[in-house]
Symmetry: C2
Subunit: 250 residues, 2 copies
Amino acid sequence: STGVGRGPKVIEGVRNIIAVASNKGGVGKSTVAVNLALALKDFGARVGLLDADLTGPNVPTMMGIPQGFQADSGLAFVERYGLRVASLGFVLRRGLPVVWRGPMIGTGVRQLMHDLPWGAEGELDYLIIDLPPGTSDASMSAAMEAPIAGAVIVTTPNAVSLEDAVKAVSMFEKLSVPVFGLIENMSYFVCPHCGERTEIFGHGGVREAAEELGLDFLGEIPLQVDVRTGADLGVPIVESDPGSPVAQAF
Amino acid sequence: STGVGRGPKVIEGVRNIIAVASNKGGVGKSTVAVNLALALKDFGARVGLLDADLTGPNVPTMMGIPQGFQADSGLAFVERYGLRVASLGFVLRRGLPVVWRGPMIGTGVRQLMHDLPWGAEGELDYLIIDLPPGTSDASMSAAMEAPIAGAVIVTTPNAVSLEDAVKAVSMFEKLSVPVFGLIENMSYFVCPHCGERTEIFGHGGVREAAEELGLDFLGEIPLQVDVRTGADLGVPIVESDPGSPVAQAF
Ligand SMILES: Nc1ncnc2c1ncn2[C@@H]1O[C@H](COP(=O)(O)OP(=O)(O)O)[C@@H](O)[C@H]1O
Ligand SMILES: Nc1ncnc2c1ncn2[C@@H]1O[C@H](COP(=O)(O)OP(=O)(O)O)[C@@H](O)[C@H]1O
Ligand SMILES: [Zn+2]
């Protein structure tokens, strides 16, 4: 069933669900979801991380978890850096595409939410859901399947990303999910050679958009090489260098 | 109908269809699609540009075409910078999200392909289709609805984008669409203050992936501020500065 008519159902053992969304791809949703989850854990909360991007699950790589290692045993969450993590990437051999239409995507998201024992090894204070780009099946199903406490919208300051982010805000309004606020990612770049700053993707547009929309501006994160290398190598910056200014920004 | 059982049907008046894809979002698909279309036009070809990203149509902004101006009159293609362009963004008032599930997305893509008179004002040599992120309804429908001559895969060199790009290649193999090759976008950044180079998103990984996959490496495009500002302002770099090195790269 695609869940029609059931209405949002609480996930056993999970106190708060936070969605991280953007509509636009490549703006840093997964990077923010991973580092936000780790930052919440560092404050003492018990945190889960659910990768709801079925066609492009990037959480395994960013968390240093191998792809496809559960291809034979079946999907189960794993503990990594103190987080409880689940991703379809665990059961997909490297390079295997998920060429699924909407209904399968919606069902997959529902199963990740309700068919995994998130609360089994102790209640979670937060479950962070890393949503894929777009305002389609995955986001719709996530919002309809369980009560989401709120959504964090990540965007870069360039025009097309901002436009798409505003649409994500409207989508959540339509789906009756509160929006916690907007984050400006890749906000500026400081050259490691000369220390000068360049606003490659622009700067400041997200704070303005938040004001226009009557939403909180949750802060800015600079474009920094070690954030990307941390993601490539599977050791998020909040884990490897929690005291650094960029980790503090998360 | 979702087009099941009909098989790919030629688009009247269109000689070659080229898809621009990536699976990963935010890597520069729309930027490449727009600039590639303009570059082909500059060589004397008659070119159309179809924005198949229904939930995040960025072609209007990048081509300096207002959003929602056809909200009352109905969708029709427009001529812009010598290209024939169509996007769902023409009928969506600014900020209006398209919160559609897969079947609606597939139908929308089919209508953009077959219900617009692409060949009416003279045959097109090329129709460039700018695909959304993911390997789901939009890409599947585009490949099933019309014979695609080939796909250009755009990716940045960072690990997560490369992983997703490899899945896009597999998707096209599954859908029997030839892959023309891979482009490395945001390949390096040259600081405008000191001239030193930083590989913010990595460098060289796409050439290696193309060799491993037995595909052509179509070239690299640097991360450069005027490419982004051109997109924000609706005047693509190939249009505003065709002789520049980055325009030549496109
Ligand atoms: N602040 C940042 N500085 C440097 N690289 C970043 C930053 N945020 C994200 N990235 C990189 O950009 C790429 C896209 O980020 P990702 O989190 O995958 O975006 P999304 O989930 O929105 O598609 C990744 O390679 C990531 O490492
Ligand atoms: N080579 C480049 N240099 C600078 N900015 C770029 C480059 N390629 C893309 N961009 C910018 O990055 C953002 C994402 O690109 P876009 O074409 O929208 O990606 P996609 O279509 O894959 O989502 C846009 O703001 C665009 O202007
Ligand atoms: Zn410099």
